[in-house]
Symmetry: C2
Subunit: 241 residues, 2 copies
Amino acid sequence: MTYCVGLKLNAGFVLLSDTRTNAGLDNIATYRKMFLFQEPGERVVAIMTAGSLSVTQTTLARLDEAVNDDMADETTSVMKAPTMLQVASIIGHTLSNTRREIVGQMRDFNQQASASMIVAGQRKGGDMRMFLIYPEGNFIEATDDTPYLQIGEHKYGKPILDRVVTPATSLADAQKAVLLSMDSTLRSNLSVGMPLDLTIIEKDACTVTAQRRILEGDPDFMEMSAAWSAALRESFVKVTI
Amino acid sequence: MTYCVGLKLNAGFVLLSDTRTNAGLDNIATYRKMFLFQEPGERVVAIMTAGSLSVTQTTLARLDEAVNDDMADETTSVMKAPTMLQVASIIGHTLSNTRREIVGQMRDFNQQASASMIVAGQRKGGDMRMFLIYPEGNFIEATDDTPYLQIGEHKYGKPILDRVVTPATSLADAQKAVLLSMDSTLRSNLSVGMPLDLTIIEKDACTVTAQRRILEGDPDFMEMSAAWSAALRESFVKVTI
């Protein structure tokens, strides 16, 4: 499993992903699920992935190949597509084609492979846009009504987002919200695990503003987690029925 | 969907169930999912249900028929079985047989039907015991390490239980915990709905101590829910990263 969450706020994007990949409970590994393409000041595209590692890695490798291919044009390179909508469309097509190929290869074993992605980005002069791309290649977009998108194990971490996140939320508060959302998920689902990758992209910067890997045992994260537990228990005592 | 939660504490049982039943999003109805068998002072057995209504209703009707059948013996009546383990076993068999019959009837339509149950009870002189009964009829039991069991949509309401419930939790606090657990679930899953059925069974009473139906718009529940939201937001402001 996986947990990735992206917030699209008036002030920018806040993106957080875990790194746990597993094939069964007895085969656990760490793989990055946050990928960045950028030409600072011109365009930034962040992609977070969930699902079969063979599908997500191959999809990302193909996207990367197209970006680095001088022959690639605006229909294949996410760094050349004229709009973010077309970026989402390129990623959707690549994902859906890759998935179809891999499922075809596995047909004899009667196995499935699937993956989904969150894509957040902005090009110079364009709007910030964030999409959730389904395994079939179609997608939905974050809006002011629901300014966040989640992939993977989304349930444990959803209540805190519903309660505190609006488009007006500051980047600092948003960072806290996604980390608490992740904290609830880490506690309840063993197949989501540290380290975490956090990326902040300020509005109109068209480049990554801050990027941080939070390791197992990170003192700030542990302190926040303990303070949140204590605050919840305190709140529990105060509330009456 | 459904959400039912049962706590087995040193002081007694606290059980809470919703009442929403749906066949698709366009066909929603209210059905009780909390059922009680008791001979006050001698034995109390509470059952909460999740899953296909035809399976749970038929299972309950058969258990009820056996309890009211003078010819029923300790192998078929949950009120005559010598131990709570055997009560769980009778319910497991009835559930699994009923499910198998109904799935057989639906074979032509290639449809599935399934159900699970939480059974909590005590007989005079025996221990309090609580079981989660799977569709196949096998079961697991609540222990001091994990003093609660959930069926249905369990994820949204689990973090609060993990944080505040231990076997030493008082019945009053436990009641608050299950209501807050339900509150989180109601907010996030439309297929879980009011009214709620709450049942308290004190240790060694061998009878229902308190029973309450909480209706949509119940002022106490609404106030608790609003206070909890406010307390969470306040906690969020206090926690730093």
